[in-house]
């Protein structure tokens, strides 16, 4: 059920979320044109967005062990998705988390933050707790694969940081997610 074809879009918005709001605002003006553009089912802009990241690192690729490297290697599997009101790890999620774990075990000095998110169709406070629960489910699975829990921070944004802006099932499915971000 989880389409991973929108990962590039997510990366843009998600990259901003852990930053302070002031910085976020500054970036916002720079990215404001991109974030909404990925929403329409138009492959053109998505491809353009996708090629942006490698373009800047064409000579040697991302620095090994960096967030850029993590994203390049994971190819969208930095994010897992949940059903409505659920926090369980399904087979798709497990495969993505195994890829994340492989990378994290390769770079044992790196720490990561797992962001938990919800769709907009729930109450604000419950969604804060539910996002926390989803991020912790991802963390627990990574730990079960041998990643030291001390390297994994979790944070919930509830429904406050959607990546898909529509009010429909497709958008909500994209927003019910846990995103792993490497702390460079």
């Amino acid at each position: 059920m989880n389409s991973n074809g929108h990962i590039r879009a997510r990366r843009l918005a998600r990259g901003l979320s852990p930053l302070g709001a002031a910085l976020g605002l500054a970036l916002l003006s720079a990215c404001a044109g991109k974030a909404p553009r990925v929403l329409p089912p138009n492959p053109g802009p998505e491809v353009g967005t996708t090629t942006t990241t490698p373009a800047s690192t064409t000579p040697s690729g991302p620095v090994p062990g960096s967030e850029g490297d993590f994203q390049a290697v994971l190819m969208g599997r930095d994010t897992i998705y949940f059903d409505t009101d659920k926090y369980n790890i399904d087979a798709d999620d497990a495969a993505a988390l195994q890829s994340q774990a492989q990378w994290l075990l390769r770079y044992p000095a790196k720490h990561a933050t797992i962001e938990g998110h919800c769709d907009e169709r729930g109450t604000r406070e419950y969604n804060l707790a539910l996002g926390e629960r989803r991020a912790n489910a991802a963390k627990a699975y990574l730990q079960s694969l041998g990643v030291d829990g001390a390297r994994l921070n979790v944070i919930s944004y509830g429904k406050e940081r959607p990546v898909a802006l529509g009010s429909n099932e497709e958008a909500w499915a994209k927003n019910r997610r846990a995103v792993t971000v490497i702390i460079d």
């Binding site: 918005a13 901003l16 852990p18 302070g20 709001a21 002031a22 976020g24 605002l25 916002l28 404001a32 974030a35 909404p36 009101d85 926090y87 907009e120 169709r121 729930g122 109450t123 604000r124 406070e125 419950y126 804060l128 707790a129 539910l130 926390e132 629960r133 991020a135 912790n136 489910a137 627990a140 944070i155 919930s156 406050e160 940081r161 959607p162 990546v163 802006l165 529509g166 009010s167």
Partner: protein, 500 residues
């Protein structure tokens, strides 16, 4: 005769009049004759001593009336049996008079240094807006009415007013005190009976002139409806700006009518879910300061804030106890969220819930003995009640769908909550979970908060698609749905008590 009890019929409870005993009822003539020495400051002093009321010289009409309709004037004919009929009660509210138009430091709509005459008009306009927005009355404001001479304030020209169709008349005066304060008095009159029904007066700093209007509106509303007052109260909320995926969310406060708006935080850290302390001195809220969602207590006078709980676990959902001495909060540990209670002035937390899953929120009954909260221990969000020490937890919501964000009415008789069955709607039920009924029907309404008198519920509405948020209110009949004026998008309203 007018049945002033009709507004209470939905609850079957006697109308409490706790504020009648506290309200200062000064002799109206004394105020009209500009004797400010008799008046006591209302702000910023705390509560007026209860012993101060009723004033010895108060006439029979000014003594606190019983809540029943017994005192309703017989001369007003026509049986009032439903809301639409009730709304036909007209009230004329001419500009308040002044003995001499003296300048004050007060500002109205951006103009400062207004005289007492201009303030008298502005006060009448605020009273008119309060009563009109409440939906129960059909007030006519000062712009459509003749100016009342000061000499007439204490002795209305009943014959003249009878020529109009309004059954009720509100007259008042604004007098500049010798110490820079403002004396404001108002009276409610039955035009056909040619009788004063109630009056009130207070002394306050000119900058707080709107409070005088709200106190007057409260007095009129209480006298005519039998309900407790609520206009003179404030609201904390979250001001939202920016696109849907990068909303800036700031803590903000305003009067119950949206006036005196003020942003509290800058928006650098996302702020959510504020709750005013019962004494209005501080606000508990969630902030992502330092990148972690945790609860802070913000002191409004000093503009300082402190962490409520020194922890790196996320803390959510602050809720004051009715006496302001404790806060409920919810804390997530390894994905499980439970409810705790902490003394506001420091001390260890007491864990109240201990089940797998999410236990969150919590709202005290007005007597502080029980707490209604939300838990998904059954598999989905439902509403539970427990004793204040966490004992005797039991589910009360059994009507299908999900039930969230319960808030106990200040009257104790009802619990407002968000019902989720597809759309999110505001609903109420009794504390035993019965008599559930909806107050709203929209795409997404959530997070109810009660008016101080437990007769109105505010909540926030999210627009499908755009994600724009706005604060609305609706009364317990499900009527009088109204959007509050806010300068930007608004969510998470938290209504405080009536100010002393």
């Amino acid at each position: 005769m007018i049945d002033v009890n009709i507004r209470k019929s939905g609850t079957g409870r006697p109308a409490p009049r706790p504020h009648a005993a506290r309200r200062r009822l000064l002799p109206w003539l004394a105020l009209a004759l500009a004797a400010p020495a008799l008046a006591q400051p209302v702000a910023p002093a705390p509560a007026v001593p209860e012993a101060a009321a009723p004033a010895p010289a108060a006439s029979a009409a000014a003594t606190p009336v019983p809540a029943s309709a017994a005192a309703a004037p017989d001369a007003l004919t026509g049986s009032v049996t439903d809301d639409s009929a009730w709304q036909s009660l007209g009230i004329d509210i001419p500009a308040f008079a002044t003995d001499a138009d003296k300048p004050t430091p007060a500002s109205v709509d951006g103009s400062s240094g207004l005289g007492t005459a201009a303030l008298g008009r502005a006060i009448a306009e605020v009273i008119t807006a309060d009563l009109r927005n409440n939906g129960l009355f059909k007030p006519v404001g000062p712009n459509a009415l003749p100016q009342v001479p000061f000499a007439e304030v204490a002795a209305p020209d009943f014959a003249g007013w009878a020529g109009r169709n309004a059954g009720m008349l509100v007259q008042g005066a604004v007098v500049a005190g010798t110490d820079g304060s403002l004396d404001v008095g108002c009276g409610l009159y039955d035009v056909r009976l040619q009788q004063q029904l109630i009056r009130t007066s207070l002394t306050l700093p000119p900058a707080d002139w709107r409070r005088a209007a709200h106190k007057c509106a409260d007095t009129i509303y209480s006298r005519l409806s039998g309900e407790s007052p609520f206009f003179d109260s404030r609201i904390a909320y979250i001001a939202e700006t920016g696109p849907k995926d990068h909303r800036m969310k700031r803590l903000a406060i305003m009067d119950s009518d949206g006036a005196n708006h003020r942003f509290i935080t800058t928006g650098q850290a996302m702020a959510l879910t504020p709750r005013y302390s019962p004494d209005y001195r501080s606000i508990a809220y969630l902030s992502y300061l330092d990148g972690e969602p945790r609860l802070y207590i913000y002191d409004i006078a000093t503009n300082h804030q402190r962490l409520l709980v020194a922890t790196h676990h996320p803390t959510f959902a602050p809720r004051w106890s009715p006496d302001g001495k404790f806060l409920l909060y919810s804390m997530a540990i390894a994905g499980n969220t439970n409810i705790y209670r902490i003394p506001v002035d420091g001390g260890p937390s007491q864990q109240l819930t201990d089940t797998p899953g999410i236990n969150i929120g919590g709202s005290y009954a007005p007597d502080g003995k029980r707490i209604v909260f939300e838990s998904d221990r059954s598999g989905s969000q439902q509403v539970y009640v427990m004793n204040a020490d966490g004992s005797n937890q039991r589910r009360i919501s059994f009507f299908g769908g999900r039930a969230a964000t319960p808030e106990w009415s200040p009257r104790g008789d009802l619990i407002a909550f968000t019902h989720i069955a597809g759309n999110l709607r505001i609903a109420v039920m009794t504390p035993d979970g019965s008599a559930m009924r909806y107050l709203t029907d929209s795409w997404q309404d959530e997070a109810p908060t009660w008016s101080p008198n437990g007769r109105i519920v505010q909540f926030f509405r999210t627009a499908q698609g755009s994600g724009h948020t706005s604060i609305w209110q609706v009364d317990l009949t499900g009527h009088n749905l109204r959007r509050l004026p806010t300068p930007v998008d608004a969510s998470d309203p938290a209504w405080g008590p009536v100010r002393p």
